[in-house]
């Protein structure tokens, strides 16, 4: 007979979280380096977004911190490794891990990318681009349906930043994304920095893109900084670096957008060359001011 002695352990799965999302305040990407400063300053933050893959270990510090964050803040679970835009079937083990995180932390928001990162046996750890045509549309919609079925919730799909285009494309990005939302019922994550990057890299009008975007499906906005380079011809080549403050041009697009739409949960992303918490919080405060104006001047036109 085994007489088992185990100390009682906190069971995270027993908890139920209430919805803490307040869209009047911008969110910030959560980084473990900022954990103490966040609590010391009792930061007023709309929500914290985490990359799902960073919490796919079984336990330890990452989950300890995320548990604490979750007790006080709304959470956005942002997948970067599902490869929804890829040719190969979704990794069902990875999808199961996402589902487990969704059940454990009950995030208010859940999103993934219109991109791919896995092929064959390998994972490439970047958001790679895809052509927009009937074949890829069908593939992406099947993958999103599968994600939403397994997760038991609606996902938000993020528009990409791209450096190349494909001759294999037969529709533009707006048509493609609009059709995905229509066919799958998914929501959209509108990354305004990505819009500005792609529009600059491919020489189209970012403002027009935002006017045409199916804004009624948008459940979250991303803002981030980008690096500036140029290609062989000397044409501008912006790179989605997430390593600095949000560019002025992106702030202007954002301000213009939310004046029309009203408040939408907005995130400041900063993943590389990590700043102090104060600097990141300052970026969120800039967004807060614009959100406050937007809520004064416009009623929220988005469907709930």
């Amino acid at each position: 007979m085994n007489n088992v002695v185990e100390q009682s352990i906190h069971n995270q799965n027993d908890r139920t979280y209430s919805c803490l999302l307040n869209a009047n305040f911008a969110g910030a990407g959560f980084k473990s380096e900022h954990f103490e400063d966040i609590f010391k300053s009792q930061a007023k933050i709309g929500f914290f977004e985490v990359h799902a893959e960073n919490y796919m270990g079984a336990g330890g510090m990452p989950h300890f911190q995320l548990d604490k964050i979750r007790e006080h803040y709304a959470i956005s679970l942002h997948g970067v490794g599902l490869s929804i835009g890829g040719e190969i079937p979704l990794d069902v083990d990875h999808l199961a891990r996402l589902k487990a995180l969704n059940e454990r932390y009950e995030p208010e928001l859940f999103s993934e990318h219109l991109a791919w990162s896995s092929h064959g046996q390998n994972f490439y750890n970047d958001l790679l681009p895809l052509p927009y045509n009937t074949q890829t549309l069908k593939q992406v919609c099947e993958h999103i349906n599968q994600v939403q079925d397994v997760m038991g919730r609606r996902m938000l799909l993020e528009n990409p930043s791209t450096y190349v285009i494909f001759e294999q494309s037969t529709m533009d990005e707006i048509e493609f994304i609009t059709e995905i939302a229509k066919r799958t019922g998914c929501g959209l994550l509108l990354d305004v920095n990505n819009v500005y990057i792609s529009a600059t890299n491919h020489q189209y009008d970012a403002k027009q893109y935002l006017n045409d975007f199916p804004i009624q499906h948008v459940g979250e906005i991303h803002l981030a900084g980008h690096a500036v380079d140029e290609d062989e011809k000397g044409n501008p080549l912006l790179i989605d670096a997430h390593d600095r403050e949000v560019d002025k041009a992106v702030w202007a697009l954002y301000e213009n957008l939310i004046q029309k739409t009203g408040v939408i949960p907005t995130l400041i992303e900063w993943d590389n060359e990590l700043p102090s918490w104060d600097i990141l919080k300052n970026e969120a405060d800039k967004a807060n001011k614009l959100l406050a104006n937007a809520s004064c001047h416009s009623s929220n036109k988005l469907a709930g």
């Binding site: 002695v5 336990g59 490869s83 092929h119 790679l128 190349v164």
Partner: protein, 251 residues
């Protein structure tokens, strides 16, 4: 014909390959520089993942050498999972066969220690068995107790002083103070979410591994003293309980 994703990943992995067919700039021209943004993103992110896992190796060989070493590794080994802390498992073995590092035979063992530190950091949470949990069984039963290894605990044997080398490089010490003649077995533990590394005395590895394999305290003790004359049982049990080596104790 290869699928677009196959062409794309091949061109990412081999810089001398042409940009995939149909991948162009907004004027319809092939742009190697634009495609290379993806290639660089992939390589830089994997390099960063290796730097995160192997800070002591980077200190030991220097930043530039580490980058060159890592790039040859990345060329050969891509992640097979989107969970990046699992990436680089083969690095220790790769270093072992990496000729320019032949003069530093301890390097591979230090790399394995670093990889296991990261695995410990992410290991499953479990209760830790302390002295009072043992006391509940009564002294008459001590010899028959069995233990289960805590999920965050790792033991690594080495003929090199791997713990001293790790501390010298990550703890602000000096490699010149490390006696490379000394052998050290390493114990990785994770009290309160922080990973610690300790060196073990003679016999402790045999003793702990015997307990982890399911032997009773008595059986493990006799197995150990059979091979190590000066084994300190009391010290070893105290160390096991203070560092949280077990997640379960049972009769």
């Amino acid at each position: 014909m290869e699928s677009l994703n196959s062409q794309f990943t091949s061109a990412i992995s081999q810089s001398d390959l042409a940009v995939p067919i149909g991948v162009v700039d907004y004027q319809g021209d092939v742009s190697k520089k634009r495609f290379d943004v993806y290639r660089n993103n992939v390589i830089v992110s994997l390099l960063e993942a290796l730097r995160q896992t192997y800070p002591a190796i980077e200190m030991l060989v220097g930043k530039d050498f580490f980058q060159a070493l890592a790039l040859t590794f990345i060329e050969k080994y891509k992640p097979t999972s989107p969970i990046m802390y699992l990436y680089g498992k083969e690095f220790s073995q790769y270093i072992h066969g990496f000729e320019p590092l032949d003069k530093y035979p301890y390097m591979a063992d230090v790399a394995l220690l670093e990889y296991n530190r990261v695995q410990s950091y992410h290991a499953e949470d479990a209760p830790v068995i302390a002295g009072e949990n043992i006391a509940e069984f009564g002294t008459e039963n001590f010899g028959d107790l069995r233990f289960e290894k805590h999920s965050a605990v790792y033991i690594e044997r080495s003929v090199w002083p791997i713990v001293s080398i790790l501390v010298a490089n990550l703890g602000g010490g000096d490699m010149r103070d490390v006696n490379l003649e000394g052998m050290e077995d390493a114990l990785i533990v994770r009290p309160e979410c922080q990973v610690d590394v300790h060196s073990l005395q003679a016999g402790q590895v045999v003793f702990y591994q015997a307990l982890f394999s399911g032997l009773t305290l008595n059986e493990a003790y006799y197995k150990t003293v059979n091979v190590v004359m000066d084994f300190d049982l009391e010290y070893s049990i105290t160390m096991a309980l203070t560092h949280g080596l077990f997640q379960k104790v049972y009769l």
